[in-house]
Amino acid sequence: MSSQEKTKVVLLACGSFNPITNMHLRMFELARDHLEDTGRYRVVKGIISPVGDSYKKKGLIEASHRLEMARLATLNSDWITVDDWESQQLEWVETAKVVRHHAELISSENNNDDVDTVKCGKRRKLEQNTIICQSSSYINTKEDPPRLNLLCGADVLESFGVPNLWKPEDIEEIVGRYGVACITRCGSDPEKFINQSDVLYKHRKNIHMVREWVTNEISATHVRRALRRGQSVRYLLPDPVARYIQEHSLYSVESEQKNDNAILAPFQRYTSAN
């Protein structure tokens, strides 16, 4: 299959990244390998989108730090980038909105690249019987925009079932209109979970289950715990991130108490709407 026929994919990971760890970065690598291994996809970009402070998760430190750590972590990556749109919004933004925002951005970037074919398209409207623009070579040079897939762990997919955490129409949009690349732990049964949900089952073709054969549970929670106890986190996250944390004395007993009495933004929004 020539590379022209492969579907381009952009992977978008939303999350706290509090802080970013080697596990987060591995997710991108595993997902890219998996998708490209099918022979049908070419992963062209990865986006890390840290959640805004208004998410109100316990222990969530300022977005400015989380963004900077993610940037430091991806300095050596030639395809993974960090985006601050989500964290710059005043209110918490639903994941579906973030996905939609990036999909629209990708689409318009794609349109701007194909200036000649856009002009040609306009000409087609004016000259109805134009043969030139209807020739197959013109149609093939206008490439479809890359497909956006939400990259996440199995816990996120399973969280679709938590009451008042997600709007049903948002779930439908994410899996139906876009797509999901989900990293699953060995020992878990991802197919079973898809089977148990009508909306996931309906869009199962858009859900790519990426098997993680070897356990790698370096979690941000664990990293924060180690830091509170004065333990080393070296080699659990990139060196520049570990240094940044140390320089700014992030993650203490105090920082973990942030938002202790707050209600998580989605719960606040959806339960009050009922």
């Binding site: 080697n22 690598e29 070897v214 370096i218 664990h222 106890r229 333990q231 080393s232 080699y235």
Partner: protein, 259 residues
Amino acid sequence: MAGRIPLVLLACGSFNPITHQHMRLFELARDHMHQTDMLSLSLHFAGLYRVVGGIVSPVGDNYGKQGLVVSKHRLAMARLALQSSDWVSVDDWESQQADWTETVVTMRYHYDHIAAQYHNSKDPLTASDVPQLKLLCGADFMDTFKVPGLWRDDHVEEVVGRFGLVCVSRGSLQPDRAIHESDLLSRHRQRIFLVREWVHNEISATEVRRALRRGQSIKYLLPDSVIDYIREHNLYTQDSEMMNKEVKLRPLTMQTIQD
């Protein structure tokens, strides 16, 4: 940390290649021996130590393990990985020996070296003791003691009894069970420090080699500098994994099983 016993941690192994997991062993062991974690399960004697150094000692090529690439590369990769470490270094003595060297022999060499340095530079005004040397290992290492013909009893006695072990548990392996099942190890359980690695991280050098053979990404499992080296020298292929396939592990050919 005044008055604490200075300690050097020595890790022997293939380092084929070195990974973040190997380097984590040192970090976890140091924290444990310093006892910064007050909830440590192995409360006895930890906290009396001050870790002053770490040594990575890659095994020699004559070990005969399947898939072992030449020590020149394994040393170079370890050095690249540890370039930014201010306390762990790589030593090539073991890999430079003509034949495979028993762990206890390597330990004696490093201990003698450390002791000589200490005596040469000893300032009569300081109260520090001669540094101790302990073997740093993963929990899977504890199980090797019961493989017939792999270890001499008197060597195990010396490694554990004279020097001591710092053993980091990995995944579901239970090192305390290995201790329980061995009379020798049980007798020296005070000299075995068990460190719990709470984060479940089973990514090993074996997994890294497997990913490389399959053209999969190994980024973030080991330092970029090591990844670049592997690609430059095209290490770890189907062929390299076949190295020593028919060869018996050197320790098994060297020692006779004692009745």
